[in-house]
């Protein structure tokens, strides 16, 4: 407990050198309890993680007792509810991959473009207006995005306007709208990274005769690269974990998606859909939910660790 005073160089709340000091050994049981309570609150976050791991692992283990992990990871047919049930997760993975890639194709260029504009070009007053406006996009509930993707993007734009041969659902519509949803995430972190690049680098570049575009692309962008990579990686993690847009607009037929105009069921889409049916606790169907959830959790955990590494690097650079 005394470490606090040490860290902040505070005078003497805890250990005093001489026992004669009247403040020295004064016990404060109330404060001790409060600090214990605070520590407990922090520990709850760790308990949550342990809880997630246990909650996902236990049903998954009983799932893998019945289905071999090899069949799960490399099987190409996902039909957990059919009489001849089959548990190959690849159809869910391909659909997730499609929506994620499409979302990134939208979010990375537009997100980085917005970030460069806000960080390098916009005057402070303009930025103060534009940034919160951009963040409204992040505040819109994903279920509303899903509704928009199904009704407008899929129904009106893709089918009526562009006359594309597509059914009621497609991974394309879901991915496009998901990309728009992720733009502010990427823009905000990339902007932070670029704003953290010291002004001296820009002045140096300008002194050598570079214009603002050259300064941005050849000096600021490389200098902020690890932060920008972290932004993109976080975007990937959000796209993989997004549920409502794909549950509404991507369809619920699990198949190996070979073309973005097809419908497909993602990992999150499967969990959302399967949870609608009433599956008994402990049944294979119930355990299947958790096996897919575990895979999803491990993928996003891996992605996130990569992101944190990159963030560390760009914070330490200057």
């Amino acid at each position: 407990m005394t470490t606090v005073a040490e860290r902040q160089g505070g005078p003497a709340t805890g250990r005093a050198p001489s026992p004669s000091s009247s403040f020295a050994g004064r016990r404060r049981p109330g404060e001790f309890l409060i600090k214990l309570g605070l520590r407990l609150a922090a520990a709850i976050t760790v308990i949550t993680t342990v809880g997630i791991v246990i909650a996902l692992l236990v049903p998954s283990l009983s799932f893998f007792a019945e289905v071999s992990p090899f069949e799960f990871l490399f099987g190409t047919r996902w039909a957990p509810r059919f009489a001849d049930a089959s548990f190959g997760v690849l159809p869910l993975v391909t659909a997730t991959l499609w929506t994620t890639v499409i979302a990134l194709l939208v979010a990375v260029p537009f997100g980085l473009g917005a970030a460069i504009l806000l960080a390098e070009y916009a005057k402070p007053r303009v930025r103060k207006v534009l940034k919160p406006l951009l963040e409204i996009l992040a505040g819109i509930p994903t279920v509303v995005y899903g509704f928009f993707a199904l009704q407008f993007v899929q129904g009106t734009v893709l089918r009526d306007w562009l006359q594309l041969p597509t059914g009621a659902f497609s991974v394309l519509a879901a991915g496009l709208v998901m990309g728009v949803m992720i733009i502010p995430t990427i823009a905000s972190i990339a902007e932070d990274a670029m704003s953290a690049v010291p002004g001296a680098l820009r002045q140096g570049s300008a002194a050598l005769g570079a214009n603002r575009m050259q300064t941005t692309l050849r000096v600021v962008f490389p200098a902020a690269l690890s932060g920008i990579v972290a932004a993109v990686v976080l975007g990937i993690s959000r796209a993989v974990g997004e549920t409502m847009i794909v549950a509404i607009a991507a369809g619920s037929q699990a198949q190996l998606v070979s073309n973005p105009l097809e419908q497909g069921q993602t990992m999150t889409g499967f969990i959302a859909n399967a949870a609608l049916g009433d599956s008994r606790v402990g049944s294979l169907e119930y355990n299947t939910l958790f096996a897919v959830g575990l895979l999803l959790f491990l993928i996003t955990l891996l992605i996130n660790f990569i992101s944190i590494r990159f963030v560390r690097r760009f914070r330490e650079a200057y």
């Binding site: 976050t45 537009f110 473009g113 509930p141 994903t142 993690s237 949870a275 999803l296």
Partner: protein
């Protein structure tokens, strides 16, 4: 010797000319196209935002009436309303706020004011909070589902179950926001208080926390507005139930606005899509109000030291 012959204006001209080309570099075609592309990317984002708002307004405008707020869901789209969903959202978010705020703020105070960063456990907690913030929301639904079934609760569609999932979902967000608010309080405030003989806790409670209330409030409101719009974890807990009564307690069955929108979106009749649009407008209005409140608090009360 030429300096005596050259007139001052000419000299200035000769000096300023090469400098001016540096400025002219901004007007090169490549640089202009680049700037145009940057504005275009921002424009695309706003164009989608405006299109989304307009489409939803056009879809939902017919159903924007008091019926939406006062009526229960019904098989007839003309009669149906979102009353239980509104009350359910209030119950779920209210419970979430009561559970999350003390927990999140306490954890943040520990990490920021008391924890020793040299100890591995505290560093581990920090890393863990960062990780939890990126866990997909649907996984929190699975966690709450497993927890409830472990307790032997058979009916999972209860307010406290949903609030539990939402609490764990936004806890990292509140911790991160609170830590930032605490960090913004300058250390002179702490040192001054400690120098007057206050203990660490007295300093935190009477100086640091009051000074950071606006920041904490802003972060908390934004986190709660995220919970309000969240549907995935509640879907896993089975909140998609046809509710024709007012939710009235922690163990009551419930549904929320996003879940109600999801339900209506999935039906074939056009009337239900209109209802989904109208309910989306309602939800967006509440969220924009919450965001405006957060921005207002930030601008009005946040101190600059």
């Amino acid at each position: 010797m030429s300096t005596t012959t050259t007139r001052p204006e000419a000299r200035e001209l000769r000096i300023t000319k090469p400098l001016a080309t540096g400025r002219n570099g901004e007007l090169r075609p490549s640089a202009l196209i680049f700037l145009l592309l940057l504005w275009f990317s921002l424009f695309v984002a706003f164009a989608v935002l405006v299109t989304l708002l307009i489409t939803i307004f056009i879809t939902g405008q017919n159903k924007l009436s008091w019926n939406l707020v006062t009526n229960f869901p019904s098989a007839d789209p003309e009669e149906a309303g979102a009353r239980p969903a509104i009350l359910g959202s209030v119950w779920a978010i209210g419970t979430t706020a009561v559970l999350t705020l003390p927990l999140g703020i306490a954890a943040a105070v520990h990490l920021e004011e008391f924890a020793d960063r040299k100890r591995w456990f505290n560093r581990f907690v920090e890393l863990n909070v960062q990780n939890l913030a990126a866990v997909p929301s649907i996984v929190y639904g699975l966690l709450a589902l497993a927890f409830l079934s472990m307790l032997g609760v058979t009916n999972k569609n209860i307010v406290i179950g949903g609030a539990l999932a939402l609490t764990l979902l936004i806890l990292p967000v509140i911790i991160i926001a609170t830590r930032e608010a605490l960090r913004a309080v300058p250390s002179e405030i702490r040192d001054g208080s400690l120098a007057l003989g206050a203990t660490q806790w007295q300093t935190t409670w009477r100086q640091v926390l009051p000074a950071s209330v606006p920041g904490i409030a802003t972060g908390s409101i934004l986190a709660l507005s995220r919970a309000l719009g969240e549907a995935a974890p509640l879907l896993v807990l089975g909140a998609l139930v046809y509710i024709t009564f007012d939710p009235n307690g922690l163990l009551s069955g419930y549904t929320t606005l996003p879940i109600q929108i999801f339900n209506w979106t999935g039906r074939p009749q056009e009337g239900f899509h209109e209802l989904a649009g109208a309910t989306s407008l309602l939800l967006l209005a509440v969220l924009i109000l919450m965001n405006a409140l957060a921005i207002f608090i930030r601008n009005k009360f946040q101190k600059r030291w």
